[in-house]
Amino acid sequence: MGTVLQDARYALRVLWKNWGFTSVAVVALALGIGANTTIFSAFNALLLRPFNFTDPDSLVVLWERPPNTSTRNSVAPANLLSVREQSNSFSHLAMYNSNSLNLTEGDKPERLEVAAVSPTMFDALGVNAAVGRTFTAEEEQEGRDKVVILTHDFWRRRYATDPAIVNRQLMLNGQPYTVVGVMPEDFNFPPTSNDILIPFTVNDRVRGERGNHYVRVMGRLKPGVTQAQADAELAGIASRLEAQYPETNSNRTIATESLKASYVRGPRPGLLVLLGAACFVLLLACANVANLLLVRAASRQKEIAIRMALGAGRLRLIRQLLTESVLIALFGGALGLLFAVWGIDLITAGIPASLSRYLPGWKNVGIDVEVFWFTLVVSLLTGVVFGLAPALQATKTDFNEALKEGGRTSGGGGFGRNRLRGALVVAEVAISLTLLIGAGLMIKSFYEMLKVEPGFKAGSVLVMDVALPRAKYKEEAARVNFYTQAVERVAALPGVEAAGAVNILPLSRSNTDSAFSVVGRPRPEKGREPQANFRTVSPHYLEVMGIPLRRGRHIADTDRADSTNVILINEELARRHFADTDPIGQRLNFGGDKDSDNYEIIGVVGNIKHESLVEEEIKPEVYRPLAQEPWYSMSIVVRRNAGDPAQLAGAVQREIGSLDKEQPIYNVRTMERVVSESLAPQRVTMGMLGIFALIALVLASVGIYAVMSYTVSQRTHEIGVRMALGASPRDIRRMVVRQGMLLAFVGIGIGLIASYWLMQGLTVMLYEVSATDPLTFGLISLLLILVAFAANYIPARRATRVDPMVALRYE
């Protein structure tokens, strides 16, 4: 212990004396470690431990799906109730889904994010309320279900953590609910950043609902039961249900997926790529510092030789040198932690709330105890990794040689003596090339995404959401009236070109689709019907969004509740089902046998991107008139005739608010922001990768520069001799640059081969860009060649300033 302290003290003194070297090394490592800490903090929170429930491995979610596919559909509630009765694999099975309720309290109505959950969910997760209690089993029955649990965030935000909130009554959608409890701060399920939880009510309607698949299901496997066993049992139950309810359950099976896996699917590929990239940055930093150490070790050869001559063992010397490198790494780790704070800020700022609310563990992205330990361990390992080779090399010297020093020898000039240094430079170039190519591909891909035509025109459009409460707006006419008036009033505002309403906005991360059939054609088998995205729109919605009409006519004010049921279809639906007939006048059926259940096609409109700008398959889509199919929740869209649509927000909100004082209008944003936020994950991944690549470029050029400078200083004598023998400055410059560029070219060659292979891992994230895009590979190589040349040129210029008189001074 004593000698360790002594080593450390001595090492500190050496580092302090060489503060120039020390600070370069510390910053290089800090960049590498900081990159890793940043990504690890996201990786740990989002992928490794998104949930902190007990025994998370036995938690599963259930999906319905056609057999032998990987489709994942939500579950029909009656089917889940059947599973509950018939299965033996689960200790708990809970239904949940998300909706929203309007809280009226005081004078400002607020729309709350709500999770409706089966009471058994709390037991399944093994969590309890922080204040009060969770739901009892009876509270899923109608009549007893007007109870509510607050999330900790909402409790703090709205009630300043007042413990007296329990047993208070809240007016939600005009009905009184009793507060029974508050969840703990770290509770995050379902991970949609809810304000409150209410019971998922099981009533007669739910008990008979097998056709609508709208609930999500989570459960816990009984101890000892595997997922495969549960799946086998579920398959059996599904086939019994299929026999019993062929109308609704044909061609459907039920299967489990691990709860964690189901929630980490989204961020996984991006984070894996970034983690790989961060490791590369650290490796590069290690190579860089190892190189600096090698250079320094050469200048310390005499000190080391003397120590050995005085009887210091090799191990002792290696330990001394390793102490130095570990100390450097620890300083680097400390600074890296600071860089990480900044890096994490960058990531969290880049992901909008509209996306992060679906990421469990998002709130835990940051520097916590685990991230701290990670950083410490990485730093220690790093210190050993980059310190070992130079320490071994330095203590290998024949001390006789070193003591003699000077003499007529021309120093370590050629490759032979500097093989390790050269190899490190080659590795640095190869790694930075790989990172640069990765970033280059991502940037090109992002650029391609930005060029995508979404099928609508987002510019000048403002959007906002309205959710009418069910109790108050039970009548369809009331909803039609509200939205029709809202749209008319907004359209009349100065500066507004047009206004409309739609149930589900493009790129809003939600969807509703429906099975349909073409009237007059044979009905497809149950469960095998084609599906179409289902939209309800006001007459001017398509015009506001700039979605073009291709044939027929638009929905008009004359399409009313009591007139013929009409429908618009998109080009994709027309292409798939009316390839050789005119769709106008044909009719579609979405279930039901009455004549009025058949909707007459009046027009064909352009396709739009709905799921994401980069979705590969455009789905068939239909638009129904608001007047004939009014939803409770709609988005209002407003097109301004000139200027920033955001400036309309206040006026539009006031105008709609004046229709119903208790009605909150929320989520006001421009459509351009919706489009831009839909690319947030790609933007963050690209940005991070870009930053890493930039760091890599800087580290690699510093590496080349340092090694070439050192080589030049080592070759002073040789250069002097050559100049005395007639070499011109140009000859000298060319000789030095050639040696450095040879290393760079070898590194680029290796980097190209490695990239060709590694970039396959990027394929899933790339859009319209091949993982081996020759242009990117070529341009990035060229960039690196130029940078390497610059890094070589400065030492080469310095080499020409060698004065042969000085270099050849006789000993």
């Binding site: 000039g413 050559r722 007639g726 008189m805």
Partner: protein
């Protein structure tokens, strides 16, 4: 061929000025073989490197044929040296990581000479110095005398008009030393001008005249 007038060389160390050369006047005609002698520290090597155009920190006038060296820039001096002078350093200055063959090739590589011609020239010199067997060895695999032999070979390889040699036989057996001297004599007979620094009276005998230096002064011609 060479005309030195009033050459002075000073090293300044803080406030101290050390004169290494004082008012040196020297004329060397083409075809001469001159020996410079004098005690250690007299300034012989310094004078030689001024003659060889390596050193530019001196005052006075130096005419090399029709070129006024004291008015030339660094580049022109280097060009002049490259074109006319072969230099044997007191401490050889061979390049350690190059073989004997490659060392001999270095001065040629900086001239506009075709590869085949260069190979012929190197082969010729290896032959003349009888070191063909050593051509693939590195300098540290040679004895001091062999290294000196290579250094001399490197100086004469491109057939310079003027050879400047700083104790070319310092590390050689008297036999080998004589061989070098005989080679110089032969070259001199063929028209090459030679200026050598030497401690040995015997070697000085090969030359036409002796210049004595002491404490930076030319004391006897």
């Amino acid at each position: 061929m060479i005309r030195l007038r009033n050459i002075e060389k000073v090293y300044e160390q803080g406030v101290n000025k050390t004169y290494v050369l004082r008012r040196v006047d020297l004329d060397v005609r083409e075809g001469e073989f001159v020996s410079i002698m004098g005690p250690s520290g007299a300034g012989k090597s310094t004078l030689l490197s001024i003659l060889g155009l390596f050193d530019s920190a001196w005052t006075g006038e130096y005419h090399f044929w029709d070129a006024a060296v004291h008015r030339l820039g660094k580049k022109e001096r280097a060009e002049l040296h490259k074109r006319h002078i072969g230099f044997v350093f007191q401490s050889y200055h061979l390049l350690d990581h190059l073989t004997v063959y490659e060392n001999l090739d270095v001065p040629l590589s900086y001239k506009d000479i075709k590869k085949a011609e260069r190979q012929a020239m190197v082969a010729d010199v290896l032959d003349r110095f009888q070191i063909v067997g050593k051509k693939d060895l590195y300098p540290n695999q040679l004895s001091g005398g062999q290294q000196q032999l290579v250094a001399v070979a490197r100086a004469v390889i491109s057939n310079p008009k003027l050879i400047l040699a700083d104790e070319p036989t310092g590390n050689l057996h008297s036999n080998q030393g004589r061989e070098i001297m005989e080679l110089f004599k032969r070259l001199n007979d063929e028209g090459t001008t030679i200026i050598q620094v030497t401690h040995s009276e015997q070697n000085a005998q090969f030359g036409h005249r002796v210049v004595q230096l002491a404490d930076g002064w030319v004391v006897k011609e």
